[in-house]
């Protein structure tokens, strides 16, 4: 592929980036669409996948097999914690208008300028080699595409080096879209959208190229692995080894990657500073891991494919290109993918580092010098942007220089892992800063410095010695022959891979120092205030008046205003002040700016120039009442107690509401039961009165008059009938009572079919013209005969009651599944859905439309239920209005055969 083609492709790609950034940033409609999109957020996080992912993974997989996976697995595993920890970090950062990881750390530890400077320097040190390896990968890729040659031609002419031109283009992009204006929130939506787009391009290109290799060059995954097992030594690639990729390395890589994903300056910037809503975290927690999974899916097969084809003769990082030489279009795709991978990292890193260093190194230092202070303050916004542009440019040129000078010797992955270990030195300060209020600035600084020193010694320096750039005897015998100071085996602890060794020592000593020093030092007043915000952010971001300041400050208002105009511009300042005055009902400008106003303004200022710089600026202006840290602690503890108490109160009152609701329900239940009981009583007495009336009247008639024999017979039979009725009712009531008091069952061997048959015969008269059919299978069971018969009687009489005389059919079926099942079916009027729930309740009688007088006591089914349950069974009902009802009895009884 000729250079012009490559250049054309690159330029087209860059143009797409520029256009995307421009339009998504400036078009209101598009902006709206993109801003609230958790998918875009999730994709933007993937700027984590750089040329390392695109090229380096394959390279690493080829030598250490599973070793490449840790870098992606780490963040995947920690992703579920984002909704606790990352959410907290985002909330704090939004509240305090944090602009970078250095700002975050510095803010937590009493707005420490020193800490801000140190973290920013670390960030710079780490970013330059990292960018350089991106450039290296790009140049390599271009070289292979151009010459078709798989060895890198060493280009001595700097100005024809593609890496330089890429660096310059990315710098221009970063400057245009990253430093276009001062936005206190430091958000660059155009850039973020471009990052998301590039993530998709990376994935797409990698997957397509891999698929071409797997199915085009080889015949599928199976083919690749079969050949591999035949020709290569597979166990070093597939499992953890004692020497080589061992368990400790595996774990360490997981851990370092998980931290790096959040703490690398560019990652913090895109995950925290550019975040538009914490609600996006929910989706990002699984979408981003899914992406990481997909992009690492084919790495191993491709690496193995490369090894099979080329052995050790070709740089494994470039397998994606070298394996697909015959497919020119794939080459183009890989180039674009590589551009996407590298440019994303470079642009965001450049922007985030420029913000970090401008706010935390340059500004604080310059503001300390009186002359510079005046110069900068005269137009702070523009000055700041200028500084940043210079920084971006410098970083990129330095990275290019680093590449030309050193990167030939480095592998992508080793630089990457060393960088991860470096940024991990921030972790103890951040994590303990979020959860342990007594971690002090002195402790954190001490820990950080020790950690960085050890890291520097055991990793970059040891690496340089290993490469021969520094005297290799350092790692053979230790410096000056002192073996226990050997950077690869401090204190004689050997047998660890350098990355594990270095990370372990540095982070361990970092944490221990932090804890020990914090225990022996006290927090300053400012630290107390700040740490409270970090430990209990809910107190602040939730309340309506969040900026109630605890430290009392005041300043002359006019002086105050003058300085601020130079920083924020008069338009912005007036808008700020108007907002403040309006909400506080202040009509005229005050003479003195009080604590609240100062804190309010400081927040906005911090967003523009960083927390520590804002602090410095205001310190020049403001008189502060000296406060003792201990006073502050007790105030804050008090306010926290108040907060906790109010939370408790809230939860108690919620509980109370719930209990009241439950009581109300219980009361309603009781009232219903009471009502049912009263209904029952009136029903029963009514039921009794009717037969008694006939008996009384007829008996009186028989006594008084001379009744004919026929009539006498008739009357006496009526009296008999009604007496029976009374008797039956009384028995039913007694029965129900008894069944509820006692569970006495008399078990006996019962012939089920004959029992049912006998019961049916009992209804011969009552059934009228209805049909009663039995389908029974021969079954002898152990049960209480009387109870079962009573149940059947109740069910059948109900069925008779609710079916019509002419068409009524009642069917009794017996079956044996898991249980003995007896079904009583009828084709009567059925029971409505609303009433079905209540039929088994005591006293409940189904309302019949045309019959306001209820027949029966409402006890029949309740009795059935109690009896069946006492027999160890279950009774259920199915019914449909107008079609009929089926009662099913399930008995868990012993079957006697």
């Amino acid at each position: 592929m000729s250079y012009p083609v490559i250049i054309a492709i690159s330029i087209t790609y860059l143009a797409v980036l520029f256009i995307t950034a421009y339009f998504t940033q400036n078009s209101k409609r598009l902006n709206f669409l993109f801003k609230d999109n958790s998918f875009i957020y999730a994709m933007s996080l993937v700027v984590y996948c750089t040329a390392w992912t695109f090229f380096g993974s394959v390279g690493r997989a080829a030598s250490t097999g599973l070793g490449f996976l840790g870098v992606y697995l780490g963040p995947i595993l920690l992703a579920p914690t984002w909704i606790f920890t990352l959410k907290k970090v985002i909330r704090i950062s939004k509240y305090l208008r944090i602009t970078s990881i250095a700002d975050f750390v510095s803010s937590r530890y009493g707005k420490s300028t020193t800490f801000g400077i140190l973290v920013s320097i670390l960030g710079l040190i780490i970013v330059i080699p990292y960018i350089s390896i991106q450039l290296k990968a790009l140049e390599y890729a271009v070289s292979i595409l151009h010459t078709g040659n798989t060895t890198l031609a060493h280009n001595s002419n700097v100005f024809t080096s593609p890496a330089l031109w890429f660096a310059i283009s990315f710098a221009i992009f970063a400057i245009i879209f990253g430093t276009s204006k001062m936005d206190p929130s430091e958000k660059h939506p155009g850039v973020v959208n471009v990052m998301a787009l590039e993530s998709l391009i990376k994935l797409f290109s990698f997957l397509i190229a891999s698929l071409v290799i797997i199915y085009g060059v080889y015949n599928g995954i199976g083919d690749i692995f079969n050949q591999a097992y035949a020709k290569l030594e597979m166990s070093s690639i597939t499992i953890l080894q004692k020497d080589g990729l061992d368990y400790s390395t595996w774990l360490m890589v997981l851990l370092l990657s998980a931290f790096a994903f959040l703490f690398l300056p560019r990652q913090f910037h895109i995950a925290v500073v550019e975040n538009n809503s914490v609600s996006h975290l929910k989706n990002a927690s699984w979408i981003t891991p899914l992406y990481l999974f997909l992009i690492s899916l084919f790495v191993l097969p491709v690496a193995i494919a490369g090894k099979l084809m080329f052995g050790d003769s070709v740089e494994p990082d470039m397998y994606l290109l070298t394996l697909t030489m015959e497919y020119k279009w794939v080459g183009v795709l890989v180039l674009i993918g590589g551009l996407a991978a590298a440019s994303g990292m470079i642009i965001i890193s450049a922007i985030s580092v420029s913000i970090m260093t401008s706010n935390n190194i340059f500004l604080p230092l310059l503001l300390k010098i009186e002359k510079q202070y005046k110069y900068f303050l005269s137009d702070l916004n523009t000055r700041l942007l200028q500084i940043r542009r210079v920084i971006i440019f410098l970083v990129l040129i330095l990275s290019f220089g680093f590449y030309k000078g050193f990167s030939i010797n480095y592998s992508i992955v080793s630089v990457g892992l060393i960088s991860f270990a470096g940024i991990a030195q921030i972790a103890p300060a951040v994590i303990l800063g979020l959860y342990w209020k007594n971690s002090t600035a002195k402790g954190a600084l001490a820990g950080f410095c020790i950690g960085v020193l050890i890291w520097g010694y055991t990793l970059p320096i040891a690496n340089l010695a290993d490469l021969g750039i520094l005297n290799p005897t350092i790692i053979e015998n230790g410096p000056w022959g002192i073996s226990w100071l050997n950077p690869t085996s401090l204190l004689g602890i050997k047998d660890f891979q350098p990355i594990v060794h270095g990370s372990m020592w540095s982070v361990l000593m970092n944490t221990i120092t932090l804890i020990v020093v914090s225990l022996y030092t006290k927090r300053s007043a400012l630290e107390v205030v700040q740490s409270d915000i970090f430990i209990n952010p809910e107190k602040y971001y939730k309340s309506e008046n969040p900026r109630k300041s605890i430290i009392v400050r005041q300043a002359n208002f006019q002086e105050f205003k003058a300085v601020l105009i130079s920083i924020l511009g008069s338009k912005k300042l007036n808008w700020l002040l108007d907002g403040y005055f309006k909400s506080h009902g202040i009509q005229t400008e005050p003479e003195i700016a009080d604590s609240e106003l100062i804190t309010y303004v400081e927040a906005h200022l911090a967003g523009a120039i960083g927390t520590s710089s804002a602090n410095i600026v205001l310190n020049h202006l403001v008189e502060q009442q000296p406060v003792r840290a201990s006073e502050l602690i007790s105030i804050l503890d008090e306010t926290y107690q108040v907060y906790e108490y109010s939370q408790l109160l809230q939860s108690k009152s919620d509980e109370l509401l719930k209990t009241t609701e439950e009581l109300k329900n219980a009361n309603q239940q009781l009232q219903k039961i009471d009502q049912l009981k009263n209904e029952f009583i009136s029903n029963v007495t009514h039921e009794l009165r009717t037969p008694i009336t006939s008996i009384r009247s007829l008996s009186a008639i028989l006594q008084k008059y001379d009744v004919s024999d026929d009539e006498k017979k008739k009357f006496l039979s009526i009296i008999n009938e009604e007496s029976e009725r009374i008797s039956a009712l009384v028995n039913q009531v007694l029965d129900l009572r008894k069944s509820e008091i006692t569970n006495e069952i008399e078990l006996d061997e019962v012939d089920l079919c004959s029992l049912i048959q006998t019961t049916i015969y009992g209804f011969d008269e009552m059934k009228g013209n209805r049909k009663i059919i039995m389908n029974c299978r021969e079954l002898r069971i152990e049960t209480d005969r009387k109870l079962l018969k009573q149940v059947l009687i109740n069910l059948i009489s109900n069925a008779i009651k609710f079916t019509s005389d002419e068409n009524g059919i009642i069917e009794i079926d017996v079956d044996l599944n898991l249980y003995v099942e007896i079904q009583v079916k009828d084709n009567g009027i059925g029971i409505s859905k609303e009433e079905q729930a209540f039929v088994f309740e005591r006293f409940y009688q189904v309302k019949q439309e045309n019959d306001t007088k209820t027949q029966g006591s409402g006890l029949g089914l309740a009795i059935c239920k109690t009896h069946i349950e006492n027999l160890g069974g279950k009774i259920t009902m199915k019914s449909q209005l107008g079609q009929g009802t089926t009662f099913t009895i399930q008995l868990n009884t012993k079957i006697i055969k």
């Binding site: 009136s682 007495t685 009514h686 009165r689 009717t690 037969p691 008694i692 009336t693 006939s694 008996i695 009384r696 009247s697 007829l698 009186a700 008639i701 008084k704 008059y705 009744v707 009539e711 008739k714 009357f715 009526i718 009938e721 009604e722 045309n850 019959d851 306001t852 007088k853």
Partner: protein, 124 residues
């Protein structure tokens, strides 16, 4: 037992056995008797039979005694017919409702045969 033999009584109750006993009782005392099973039948019977007294049960299907009494009262503007309610309830409220509707008297079930006879006689 000297009674106006043309006195017509309409008895209304959904219980067959009560109708039987009342019918015998009243016929034995020389009254003329017609029967109805519910309020609706009572109204129909009223129009055709034109009783002097109606012994009306209150709780009945299709239409209860109170409704029927109301309807009959509206048909019977010149209140020639007396209505006696028969009911198993006996609370003061029901009696009040009964009187409001235009009943002339009220008898609680189970009733004493003699009480009914006396009340009917009083209404002549």
């Amino acid at each position: 037992m000297s009674v106006d033999s043309s006195k017509k009584i309409l008895i209304v109750d959904d219980e067959e056995n009560i109708l039987i006993s009342l019918e015998y009782l009243l016929k034995a005392e020389g009254f003329d008797v017609a029967k109805a099973k519910n309020g609706k039948e009572a109204i129909d019977q009223f129009s055709t039979y034109r009783p002097h007294v109606i012994l009306m049960d209150v709780m009945m299907p299709v239409m209860d005694g109170v409704e029927a009494a109301k309807a009959i009262r509206s048909l019977d503007a010149d209140s020639q017919t007396s209505i006696i309610f028969l009911t198993a309830k006996g609370t003061t409220d029901d009696r009040r409702v009964g009187y409001l509707v235009g009943a002339d008297d009220y008898v609680v079930k189970p009733f004493d045969n003699e009480i009914i006879l006396n009340k009917i006689k009083e209404l002549s």
